[in-house]
Assembly symmetry: C2
Homo-oligomer: 275 residues x 2
């Protein structure tokens, strides 16, 4: 079966979007469509240009016999600005305020369109980093972690507060919550991380950073390392931040639960990521 | 800025894939690319044909002034067969067996490529149903629930075992676990479901179905209804199944924890879904 260029472009676009950061040899497409490698090269040139112009991502060509193309998600600055503005507007509603200065985020974290955009923006920031897995802690960070991991094409590892039979044997650590100063524990299934893994930590909300610090400790138990830390929202009302090197999309400040007021502004994203 | 057909095809493919089950007016594309509606119609014809031939999904044209196109994910039978075979092979490994006849699934549920495929196949089965939300219970079903919800373009609602401050006020119910006969409870944030919502229940593992039954009870509390039930794995060693109308991709039987043996076969998917 022969394919016309238009059909190839559609099918290749779909294939590349579904296989980010995977090296696809030109011969794969050439055989799939019964086309000459030169035609495939031309197709990829058109896709590359359109992806870049439209802010879908970049297509990197790896030359040589073992070469091919790799698709990386990469959002443009406008897309990131638009998303962060959208998030700020949504978060600003005072009905979101919960006791303890937390925010009700379930609707945002359950909305696949927003979560996908958040995933694209965070994944963009790490698209070219060496990352073997995304780690988060159950439950609220899970949706964002999956969205990021999908764009980076790496597995998700979920830390829990308590062990469950379905986890198999686990490694457990204690850590001190940064804001309440209470001792808490977290567990990770032994089989879920391999030694030396480079791990991107993703979470929905960071106050002092105690939970994220706990995850960093847990990584040490697995002889794994931190490749990055990204949070959707950080709260600014913190005496002492336990975590340094992170990116945040949104920042909360002036949280006043009694008067139901809150200020929302962009996080440190644009000061950490160059466009 | 004018767009060539090839660029339009690439960008439209990306857009449609990112907006499943959303009515996109032809004028949206016509304005985006500065093209005549007749050209856009031709483009969509090519995309429609390629999506159908390559098993990406279907493109439905809604005629009239308020019309446009809608993309539905729809996998071909071969894709579903291939996925279910892959899952059977992966699950068969006796090292996955855990005490109580559970299976270690974290690696599968954490693998975005497999989860995406599972999501595509389950979403396909419900692509044309009226569904307003996907519901699952924390923690293990969450990845599949998000994948399904992404393809159906509806929010995810997560039931928990215990209330947390970040949920706001919650509705709690008690239910009897089908296999252990113990009384357990589950909670759902009050704000997370609206009255009358039609909900697709998704979970990773079903034994007798007590947990899923609990979710059905919870839906009644919210005056919401069950639009479908889909599980990745069902275990056959059940005296009395509490749930009837469900689809499963994989079925476990002959689970022998002491001798570490297990039989894995395809679930009821192909007897429930017509291709």
């Amino acid at each position: 079966m022969k394919f016309r260029r238009s059909e190839r472009l559609i099918d290749m676009t779909n294939y590349l979007l579904e296989h980010p950061r995977e090296l696809v040899p030109l011969t794969y497409f050439a055989e799939k469509y019964g086309s000459a490698k030169s035609s495939i090269s031309e197709d990829l040139g058109i896709i590359k240009e359109t992806f870049e112009t439209r802010g879908v991502g970049i297509l990197k060509t790896v030359p040589g016999a073992a070469g091919g193309v790799k698709f990386y998600v990469l959002v443009g600055k406008e897309e990131a600005v638009a998303l962060i503005e959208e998030l700020c507007n949504v978060f600003e509603s005072p009905e979101r305020l919960l006791p303890g200065g937390y925010l009700y985020l379930n609707d945002i974290l359950g909305n696949p369109t927003i979560v996908r955009k958040v995933g694209r923006v965070i994944a963009s920031a790490y698209a070219k980093s060496d990352i073997d897995a995304v780690m988060t802690v159950a439950t609220k960070g899970i949706s964002i972690a999956y969205a990021v991991a999908g764009f980076l094409n790496v597995p998700v590892v979920i830390v829990r507060r308590d062990p469950k039979v379905t986890e198999g044997s686990t490694v457990s650590i204690n850590y001190v919550s940064g804001s309440t100063k209470r001792i808490q524990s977290m567990v990770l299934s032994k089989r879920s991380l391999s030694e030396g893994a480079r791990v991107l930590i993703v979470d929905d909300f960071m106050k002092a950073g105690g939970t994220i610090n706990g995850m960093i400790d847990l990584l040490q138990e697995f002889k794994a390392s931190v490749a990055g830390i990204a949070v959707l929202v950080e709260s600014e009302e913190i005496e002492e931040r336990l975590v340094d090197n992170y990116i945040s999309l949104v920042r909360l400040s002036n949280v006043n639960v009694r008067e139901k007021t809150i200020s929302v502004s962009e996080g440190n994203f644009f000061s950490r990521i160059n466009f």
